[in-house]
Symmetry: C2
Subunit: 341 residues, 2 copies
DNA sequence: GAGCCTAACTAAAGCGCTTTAGTTTTGTTG
DNA sequence: CAACAAAACTAAAGCGCTTTAGTTAGGCTC
């Protein structure tokens, strides 16, 4: 039951620690350890269930095959799924994932970055609060490998993986217009996030159109802190107020969820009175009556791209360092009954 | 920009590494380092943003302040939330969390346990596949600190944190009976999980009753692998078949979700034709029309109890080692319209 | 002013591994 | 069979920290 160390293998087999280490790291051949010795070592290690101490290994080699993942909130389905996919992909490539949630707090994000660096992760994948350019620039300057996803800093040159927020919302909004809706409201979160800005712009483009007949922009922006309380008022204003919208575009899934609940409570019929669509989904959207039209983010692809870009950077490091990799992924738009299609 | 090490601090301040290490670990006083020296070291470290290498620290101290979390699936809202809460609580107590998903695969679970041990985690929190008693017993024998949650092995003596599955379902089922439903169906996953067994028994107790007028047990068990495909048939059999149930109890949230979708597709009215309730929820349940009656698991408490039990064990270790800590938490039962209340 | 304390400090071993710079052994060749 | 190369192997330093077992300097006591 007591732990078996490299040293023990060496002693028991009467070879050097060097030999054992080399063989177990697949460097036996290139270091001319005889096949026979290699086999003895491998057999013994396997038979005795040897597992190396990764701390020692990491300390010695200066790398840990670990990547740090920082997300705003693991309880958000979107990030939870991303985290799952990132873990899967990382594992496929031989890396372990350490994650932490920043809870949308830039200070916590900053502390987490530091803490992950202490723990000697080889690289970071971050969905930033986008209010932490200080650390991002610092990572940049220190040439530490990292990839931003979902949220990026438009003014900083970094690797990133995002989706086509603009296109997604504009397509969604146009679709509503094509279905004959005239007064389309946009419900969003008051935020500096570029993603949110892009979604708004997508809505704006669609509504203002490039052709002649322009529609009015009708927007409600809620604070992240209290949107659950405020959304009912917002929705009421939009639907029952002067603006009298006949369609709503929600900029994100959690808003949509609360919005739909509010609409139901108010007894507003979807899609007869007001058509609904949402950017990004939760699994419950097809439980709603009617099911909700929404833009789907390509979770697996985001995860895969992020991990792959990061690991490439970690492993090649100095080669193409000024060649930032950006990926803007397409989104899928699934039409359900809520938009009155 | 280059990294600052303990050694550098010592050199620059012309003191020993010992002094620096002791002071930075708050052991200055007990080792009689003068206040003045302590202050110099602290100031210098702070000013230069010193952060210790945790690998070296861990290697040297034989502990890492890290706990490993193994869950079946981070994309499941229940586990995602648990993971979030575990992380929060662990951080409060000064620990970092490393997580991985087993995807309900006992082999992967086994590999993950080994891999986490290599990485020198101080303890493990596991929602096991419950088909891996080998490793659990092995951890037990090695006196390695761990806590099971959500799933436990009834035949093995371990720490665990679970909820009152039996009571939750039986309460839910009784409630349906009290509302006048006569023929209550139970939809569950075919599984060896004790939790599932307990939920079934809760249903059984409620339906068979202790009094005279016994009702019939009507059960559909689906395979985990293909429940999404099979559920529609199962529901059809129950509602439209000979059994003609007038209420359904789902043993778990993902079954309920698919079940409700199936019912809608079949045009079956909830709760008029069939009342619905579910053990455990997803956030979308209140989007459904009508909202779904369900048992809520006390996520934060599960997380807190698991972390606290684990850390106590890690830190006190040898003291009360044969005193396994078990916690069976109460569940909340929220009545919504779907059960016909 | 020798002996002893205490306060303040430090040298160096050790954590378990990797890797560089060897050394030893064997085999080949003229 | 001396000379040398190749094959097979190893000693030991080093990764950055903690901690044990000291040492040193100064102050008191009698």
């Amino acid at each position: 039951m007591k732990k078996l160390y490299l040293k023990d293998i060496a002693k028991n087999l009467d070879v050097s620690m060097t030999a054992v280490s080399l063989v177990l790291n697949n460097k036996g051949d290139e270091n001319k350890i005889s096949q026979e010795t290699q086999q003895r070592i491998l057999d013994y290690a396997k038979a005795n269930n040897y597992v190396p101490n990764q701390l020692a290994r990491g300390l010695s080699r200066g790398k840990t095959e670990t990547i740090g993942l920082i997300i705003p909130n693991i309880s958000d389905m979107f990030y939870a799924k991303i985290a799952g996919s990132i873990e899967d992909r990382a594992m496929e490539r031989g890396y372990t994932v350490v994650f932490s949630s920043s809870n949308e707090n830039p200070d916590k994000e900053s502390r987490l970055i530091k803490s992950m660096l202490n723990r000697q992760v080889d690289g970071l994948i971050i969905a930033s609060t986008q209010q932490n350019s200080k650390d991002i620039k610092w990572l940049q300057k220190g040439k530490f490998p990292f990839v931003l996803f979902d949220r990026h800093y438009p003014e900083i040159n970094t690797n990133y993986v995002i989706v086509d927020n603009f296109g997604g919302v504009s397509k969604m909004t146009k679709h509503l217009l094509e279905l004959g809706r005239k007064r389309i409201g946009f419900v969003t979160i008051l935020s500096e996030l570029d993603a949110m800005e892009q979604r708004f712009l997508g809505y704006k483009l669609a509504v203002e159109g490039s052709q002649g007949k322009q529609q009015e922009l009708i927007v409600e922006s809620l604070k992240y802190d209290n949107y659950t309380r405020e959304i009912k008022n917002a929705v009421t204003r939009l639907v029952r107020g002067k603006k009298k919208v006949d369609a709503l575009v929600f900029s994100t899934h959690y808003l949509a969820k609360e919005g739909i609940i509010a609409l139901k409570e108010l007894g507003i019929k979807i899609p007869q009175e007001v058509a609904i669509s949402s950017f990004s989904t939760i699994s419950g959207f097809d439980l709603a009556d009617p099911p909700i039209t929404a833009v789907f983010q390509p979770i697996q692809e985001i995860a895969k791209a992020s991990v792959d870009i990061l690991i490439d950077e970690i492993e090649k490091k100095n080669t193409l360092f000024d060649n930032y990799r950006r990926r803007v992924l397409d989104v899928k738009f699934e039409i359900k009954k809520s938009c009155g299609a």
